[in-house]
Amino acid sequence: MSDQTPVLECKGLSISYYTRAGEIPAVVDFDLTVYPGETIGLVGESGCGKSTVAMAIMQHLGTNGGITGGEILFKGRDMTKMSDDELRKLRGSEIAMIYQEPFASLNPSMRCGEQLMEVPLFHEDITEKEARERARQILIDVKLPDPDRVMNAYPHQLSGGQQQRVVIAMGLLSNPSLLLLDEPTTALDVTVEAGIVKLIADISEKFNTAQIYISHNLGLILETCDRVFVMYSGEVVEEGTIDSLFTWPRHPYTHGLFGCIPLPTADKNAAPLRPIKGQLPLPHERPSGCYFHPRCNHAVAGRCDQQHVPMAHVTGSAEDHRVRCVRWQEIDHTAEAPGGEAKPAIEPGEKVLEVDRMKKYYEVHDRSLKAILSGQTTKYVKANESLNFTAHRGETVAIVGESGCGKSTFAKVLMGLETGTDGAIKVGDVDLSELGVRDRSAEQISALQMVFQNPFDTLNPSHSVGSQIARVIRRFTDENDEDKIRERVFELLDIVKLPRDFYYRRPRQLSGGQKQRVGIARAFAGNPAMVIADEPVSALDVSVAAAVTELLTDIQRENKTTLLFISHDLSVVRYLSDSIVVMYLGWIMERGTTDQIFNPPYNPYTEALLSAVPIADPEVEKREIVLEGNLPSVMNPPKGCPFSTRCPRRIGEICDNEPPPEQEAAPGHVITCHIPLEELREVEPVIHVPSPEERQSTSGAPRPSPDPAAAS
């Protein structure tokens, strides 16, 4: 491969932003070589400079950013010295970019077709008619089912997956030699993500396109890339091939990242996640020496905090495996236990929640002329269709599903923000499904508390942290003594591991992880019997998410609280929960214990969902199931089984026309499907996790020696 000329070379690239506080170096001394057809992954948490690198390659840093050193060579030509016109000719034709948020990246007031046609029209000598034909063809190539409709549609008329396909089509239209992908699937559902990832891989293979893939998701990087660069605070701390880096991560930060993600080997009791201590330093407050040393468990005073650490080749590993750590030869990561310290499991107690055939329909009034003429002005959105499940004291029950599956609607009914249409939700002996939150007693409200998805918007910006938590205590407990309330708030801050002087701070002075801790403290302030956590960590970075996840389980363990965990991320769900409810378009497709869900027999939807979740472990084998098509609209769901339009195991007419029956595969394990249980039992497991003996990385198989004597 190295005899080819590289598509892109970054040599000693340094990028700074100029703000009121002065020059802030965002990226320091960045080296990268990309060969044709190669896929490079850039991983790191937010603020590490990975998007800045992409924007520098595009030469689009905005008015306050600039390249302060080094060069970017595109096919041998230095891009930093190009004129605007030369750059314009490269952009979109030779180098294209695919963005994180497809909806924001498309012009809302132009039809998709016109936006696509612009690319060939301004880069090639081509007529409008030919451009239209090209645009239409590329839409077929990215597997959009109805290219003519998409051509004439405005972006808001398409679903998220379709929009991202249009953005991808736009990037590929001129057949670029380098494609930059900035978190291309983060905004999408997992099953849609799987389809997009496969599409990008197929197309770039077909055209031999080099790719730079930016993501915070290590699992996705593993599935898509050849080589990977791990960035921390503006510099690369480790680089290598996927195999070498994922199997033998050498840098304590890389290793730390793997400890933060719920891999199939993690277990909330036996091998819990190990969050990285501390926080990412701000760019102008970087420590001397290794930037990571204040957070590193292996840091040695006098060695790690002195000089800036250069990249060193990892002897014994792959040729281009390099690491920026002075102690890499001394640290033996394999000696560490795979997880953190084991914690006691909690025994589930009595039944706390019983959901019995709960239904929630929304009435939607269609005021268009067509609807009025045909007399169909009222439609029903069936957000929840006959939900049945139970939760016990101290148990964690997860509700999993993609957007629009009705999981948040259920949470709303449970919390009393909506009332149920039919059926019952029993907390203790009381049916709460028809009691709105205003009709509930303080006791009933305090028994159910919620941790919200977005910590940035859920705290009142004009009240101090302390007063927001104190209010909950005042409202839900008999305590009236202000001193005691304050004491209780301090205790809660201790529990969520925040310093006590946060009592006086305002939410804007807090980071995302700290805000979510306050959110947790607030939820637990009234000693609730059950806490509903709606995607509590999905807005947070991996290392922060791990810390918050651990905090949540610790408090739950302490208080024997029932946790209802709502998520789309099956790996977190597998890690956290005791039992799982899988939902799709308002239906429960499957429910059972975590083991039952993750092993056959599966509902075909669960099977696809399991396959779609990227796992950052190169030795885990996964069967590939890519779902075609999009989620049907909730306004117009399929008549029979909701999954029938996308199901790879559809057996015939019956799936389209009749609602599927509930089949009990084992006590407590219910599968909603037409396929007979015997057949479902014969399905192979989707995920194969190798036993410790089978693993290369922990057994005596060939691996780089941690012994300095052997290495030199």
Partner: protein, 309 residues
């Protein structure tokens, strides 16, 4: 779209009805007062009673209102007390005069302010942006009576280029139109330019503009094709609101320059207590306000494809 239009029209009618009722109740509940206004302060109680009887004022209040609305719909607003001619006659002429003023203002203001706003917003924080923004703030912060005095001092008294009054007594004269339009323009220009600038600046930082630039299409096209349409959605509504502002805004200018328009008519009527003229003028003003809202609602949905019915 059709449903939206019909619904907007219906709510427009309702607003007009409510306002007209309030107006009528305010001015004509006290019958004797009306008669006093019409017959003058020295008329006797008896004369007023006779006048009331003769003009149907002794009918029930609601019936009088219905008759009044019916007449207003036919364009009959009664007789002006001050000018002794039918209100409709004066009103039509005065509205036409103000219309000329407004037309000239809009023909100049819209292109200039939009261009200024777009150039300023294209590159936020650039020298051009600062220059345009400061100019707009300065012109908008000078009240109309101040700028009218200032402009008159320069162009009428010092340079003697333009006439100081715009009463058009010797027939229509373009020269007399310049100062009133200039005063209004100066004030309004900066306001609309600043709105456009804010909208344009926001659009320029959006991700789809980044997409367009990184697609490698020429900068001109990025601005004209991608930014402009999205950036004009907000100023459009603002411009429609200017129509509304104009009706009251012209009073100062028209009175200052003795321009015979809607504003000076309303002013005179208010000073004299010419209730029929006030009623008519108020109805017209409310109609313009509601109708411009209606146009801006419809236009907004046409400009913004995300809101379609």
């Amino acid at each position: 779209m059709l449903i939206l239009t019909l619904r907007r029209l219906a709510s427009m009618l309702l607003i007009m009805l409510v306002v007209s009722f309030l107006l009528f109740a305010l001015f004509e509940t006290d019958k004797l007062d009306v008669a006093g206004k019409v017959l003058g302060p020295y008329s006797s109680e008896e004369q007023r009673e006779i006048w009331l009887e003769k003009n149907g004022y002794n009918e029930p209040f609601l019936k009088r209102y219905v008759v009044w609305v019916g007449n207003a719909l036919r364009g009959d607003f009664g007789q002006s007390i001050q000018l002794k001619v039918p209100v409709s006659e004066v009103l039509g002429q005065r509205l036409a005069n103000t219309g000329i003023l407004a037309l000239c203002l809009f023909l100049l203001m819209i292109p200039i302010s939009l261009t200024m706003g777009i150039f300023a917003g294209m590159k936020e924080g650039s020298f051009r942006d600062r220059a345009i923004s400061v100019t707009s703030v300065v012109t908008t912060s000078i009240p109309e009576f101040a700028s009218a005095t200032l402009l008159s001092a320069i162009f009428v008294f010092s340079l003697g280029w333009l006439p100081g009054t715009s009463s058009m007594s010797g027939g229509f004269d373009w020269k007399q139109l310049v100062l009133p339009v200039a005063v209004l323009l100066l004030y309004d220009l900066g306001y609309v330019a600043r709105m456009t600038r804010a909208s344009m600046a926001e659009v320029m930082t959006s991700q789809y503009i980044r997409t367009a630039i990184l697609k490698g299409i020429p900068y001109r096209r990025v601005i004209l094709k991608h930014a402009l349409r999205n950036a004009l959605i907000a100023p459009f509504t603002v411009i429609m609101l200017q129509l509304n502002w104009l009706l009251s805004g012209v009073i100062v200018v028209e009175v200052f320059f003795a321009y015979k328009g809607f504003g000076s008519l309303l002013y005179d009527a208010a000073v004299f207590g010419d209730i029929y003229v006030i009623e008519a003028c108020t109805l017209v003003a409310v109609f313009v306000a509601v109708f411009s809202q209606f146009i801006s609602d419809i236009g907004y949905t046409m400009l913004n494809p995300r809101i379609r019915f």
